[in-house]
């Protein structure tokens, strides 16, 4: 289907120079694409290869409209030709294919055929199909916010449009009116699955026809001119109107999905034959010759040139260094802010205690004043006098405006994913998101959470998502199964994120400040039961800061160490005070404050003194974070122990709504006291 757009590019009128440049690029891309399987056959690499053949025309066009200086491109794993056309060199394609240390995407850390060059705004994207649509939307939000030139371009196959987050992305772009182009390269299959099994419309772009502010352009992705015209129009439209465009490009997949697929198992001979016949490059060459725009000799000369170029690139690729195994620990997470005024995160401030909620609200405002590139969004973030479901963000929108403080749709993955997108725009940007209204609702954002933990490592330090994810966590409010969860243990299995969980107002202020000044992602757990609790209120020195990975001894003691964080810190202190009063023992209570990184030193130092340890947290004992603490202690501190490591936490059940059930599930001061007594008398 020919695009219904202005025909700027035509076989008879387009400058010969462009035509030959395109032919050269197409042949170079195809030649690399055809050569990729050889590397696997020879056990050199490129063990994942999804051929671009049949998508060549639309891919050429995406790359040709892409402006390295102002645009941002999010290609997918089939976009070899796109990336070449957008500015990668043949050598860079091979370096990625065979995973060399000098691979510009990220030094061989990411899978082959995941081409990228963050330096020129060709972003390094996930293998998780289509999740970069959210990043494109996020960066388009930055382009619009900063009133900058340029568009974001996201590219993917038609089948992966089925992913829910793609709908979230396009809905968001339509609602916020963002300059982003979503290209769907339609080859009729998601691996072996025909597109009829994905969605009812043959052309999935049709599913979006009801969305406002959204232009949809259908084009023939096998035709160079139609693809060029469609992409040129899409870019012009997105830039001029500051609104999104979908380009639905009809392609053919000439080969199998990838080297691990065998398409002859599900495509008949006729089909295997006609996809070859519809090779976009062959068509382009026929046109060039038929309309006397190039002679066979000229084109043969380009073919020969390409052959020589690929040879040179191949040699350079083979000679490039491989990554060093020692380097795996580099770039796991970007540097955190190092507190200057309060290097160990303690203070002697006296005076009026402030509630935890005031601490958060005040710190947010202070940091927003300090850095004009700070943004916050989430559900129920701001509407007149209401600021956040718990009013943590009260007054922020009034002071900092709708561009910096705004509501998000009820789409947690969108909240998280657009943060990961917008943060790419410049290094000064700091984003705070209320990841979900309750930590319990963060699960829909998990794929973007995981994605965000990978960015810094995967790009070998080229991109760090500078994001603080705030989550109102925990129970004790009679909230039942979906307003009581603690998810820090589950999140802690992912390298690439810091997780903090304060118990008192001062630590909340200090940790939030440090999070917002740091590079990389920090999950900031807020014990919502303590927002307004007098016991969590403390005096807070001005500009208080707390370093990551530094526990705080909340009560000194000699007979037993309790390691805890969050809601249970207060219960542990209470139990310890009670036992001390009774003369049963003097307990040291360590508030970890940071879970990742974990302050092992403070814990071990304490155990050296007490020889006994109890680990307490609100989350379930089974597979809770305490298990990691216990294992670390038995690994590094076994010799100091005179008693088994004990744990107190929730039962391995959901949290019941009825207060009787809730109390039975969650830990409390009595349960802690019982366990502490047992250990003291061991």
């Amino acid at each position: 289907m020919k695009a219904d757009v202005q025909e700027i590019y035509k076989i008879k009128t387009t400058e010969k120079e462009s035509l030959l440049k395109w032919y050269h690029l197409l042949k170079l891309g195809r030649s690399l694409d055809d050569k990729a399987p050889n590397y696997l056959r020879q056990a050199i690499g490129w063990s994942y290869h999804a051929p671009a053949a049949g998508h060549d025309a639309i891919q050429l066009a995406i790359g040709q409209v892409f402006d390295q200086e102002h645009d941002h491109l999010f290609p997918y794993y089939r976009d070899l030709q796109t990336c070449l056309s957008a500015g990668l060199t043949a050598t860079e394609i091979i370096l990625n294919g065979i995973s060399k240390d000098t691979d510009v995407a990220g030094g061989g850390r990411h899978m082959s055929n995941h081409f990228a060059k963050p330096e020129i705004n060709i972003h390094n994207v996930s293998s998780c199909t289509g999740n970069h649509t959210l990043h494109a939307v996020g960066i388009a939000r930055a382009i619009k916010t900063y009133e900058a030139k340029g568009v974001a371009i996201s590219s993917q196959g038609e089948s992966s449009v089925s992913e829910g987050y793609v709908y979230e992305a396009i809905n968001g772009a339509s609602n916020e009116k963002l300059p982003v182009i979503f290209v769907f390269q339609d080859n009729g299959y998601g691996i072996s699955v025909p597109k009829k099994d994905q969605t009812a419309n043959r052309k999935v772009a049709k599913n979006f026809e009801g969305m406002k502010n959204l232009r949809i352009i259908y084009c023939n992705g096998k035709d160079v001119f139609d693809s060029m015209n469609a992409m040129a129009e899409a870019k012009k439209h997105a830039e001029e109107n500051q609104t999104p465009v979908i380009v639905h490009a009809n392609c053919v997949r000439i080969h199998s999905h990838s080297n691990s697929d065998r398409h002859d198992l599900y495509r008949d001979k006729a089909e295997l034959n006609y996809v070859q016949e519809y090779d976009p490059i062959a068509k382009f060459r026929r046109l060039l010759v038929r309309y006397n725009r190039a002679t066979e000799e000229e084109l043969d000369a380009i073919d020969a040139e390409v052959k020589a170029e690929v040879k040179v690139a191949h040699k350079a690729g083979l000679a490039a260094p491989s990554p060093d195994p020692e380097s795996i620990h580099d770039f796991v997470i970007a540097p955190s802010y190092v507190p200057q005024k309060f290097p160990d995160g303690t203070h002697n401030e006296e005076g009026e205690p402030k509630k935890l909620i005031e601490a958060l609200n005040g710190t947010l405002k202070e940091e927003f004043r300090r850095n004009p590139h700070t943004y916050i969004w989430g559900q129920d973030m701001a509407n007149k006098d209401k600021g956040g479901i718990f009013n943590v963000s009260k007054g922020l929108q009034q002071e900092f405006g709708h561009k910096r403080v705004f509501n998000a749709p009820i789409a947690e993955d969108f909240i998280m994913g657009t943060a990961n997108g917008m943060a790419r725009y410049n290094k000064d940007i700091r984003i705070v998101v209320e990841g979900a209204e309750f930590a319990d609702y963060f699960w829909p954002a998990m794929e973007q959470f995981v994605e965000t933990t990978h960015e810094y490592w995967r790009t070998k330090g080229q991109y760090s998502p500078n994001i603080t994810v705030r989550l109102a966590s925990g129970g004790y409010i009679g909230g039942g199964l979906y307003h009581s969860q603690n998810i820090e243990g589950a999140l802690s299995t992912f390298p690439g994120v810091r997780i903090v969980y304060p118990s008192y107002a001062d630590d909340a202020a200090g940790l939030l400040r440090t999070s917002m000044r740091s590079e990389g992602m920090t999950v900031f757990m807020e014990p919502k039961a303590l927002y307004n609790a007098p016991k969590a209120a403390t005096p807070i020195p001005e500009e208080f800061e707390v370093p990551f990975g530094k526990a705080r001894i909340r009560r000194e003691g000699t007979d037993l160490t309790i390691v805890t964080y969050g809601n249970t810190t207060h219960m542990c202190v209470e139990a310890a005070d009670k036992l001390a009063k009774e003369g049963a023992g003097n307990i040291e209570v360590i508030d970890l404050r940071s879970i990742v990184p974990l302050d092992t030193d403070t814990v071990l130092e304490s155990i050296k003194k007490t020889s006994k340890v109890l680990i307490v947290h609100e989350d379930k004992v089974f597979a809770g974070f305490g298990g990691e603490v216990a294992a670390t202690i038995s690994d590094l501190g076994f010799e100091y122990l005179d008693a088994p490591v004990k744990r107190v936490g929730s039962t391995f059940t959901p949290v019941g709504f009825n207060r009787i059930l809730e109390a039975a599930v969650l830990p409390n001061t009595d349960k802690i006291e019982v366990a502490a007594r047992e250990l003291l008398s061991f």
């Binding site: 289907m1 008879k12 043959r202 035709d223 016949e277």
Partner: protein, 168 residues
């Protein structure tokens, strides 16, 4: 009746068989067959009456051979020329774009002042969308081998009878 230029792809299978049936019905002496894949502007200009065979491919696209030929004639006028269109389509498999190719070609011709004849009724077909449909008529003859092969013979018969009257 002047000689009709029947343009189709000599490589096609179904379309070619249909072309042969049409030739038989109209009389070989009235027809000159031209392979679209090799046609140039001069060959095309020779005629004033045409039958163009335009099956639909890839969810509503013209086959490559038409795409590649049309630039040859896109800048000229087709004034005074008369065209009849036929082409294959699959109303079940591609219900959203049933015989779109006929519609795309009709639009191309009319945009250059050519005349399209040989419209047929959409009755007897079931589809969701078609660029070839104008009201209850197709802008040419839709042949559906995939779902209604048995009707092809009589459809061609009726259509060629109609063309005998409509072509001058």
């Amino acid at each position: 009746m002047k000689k009709i230029g029947l343009f189709y792809s000599f490589h096609s299978v179904k379309t070619k068989q249909q072309a042969q049936k049409i030739i038989a019905a109209l009389g070989a002496e009235n027809i000159e067959e031209v392979n679209v894949e090799e046609a140039d502007e001069a060959t095309f200009k020779k005629y004033s009456n045409y039958i163009l065979a335009v099956p639909t491919w890839f969810d509503g696209e013209l086959p490559n051979y038409w795409d590649e030929f049309l630039p040859a004639v896109e800048d000229g006028s087709l004034k005074g020329k008369t065209f009849a269109l036929y082409g294959g389509g699959d109303q079940k498999g591609y219900a959203e774009n049933f015989v779109d190719g006929l519609g795309i070609m009709a639009d191309f011709i009319e945009a250059r002042a050519g005349k399209v004849i040989g419209f047929t009724s959409t009755e007897g077909y079931e589809f969701e969308g078609s660029k070839a449909a104008r009201g209850d008529q197709f802008v040419g003859l839709a042949l559906d081998i995939e779902n209604q092969a048995a009707l092809t013979g009589e459809r061609i018969e009726a259509w060629t009878e109609q063309l005998k009257k409509e072509f001058k």
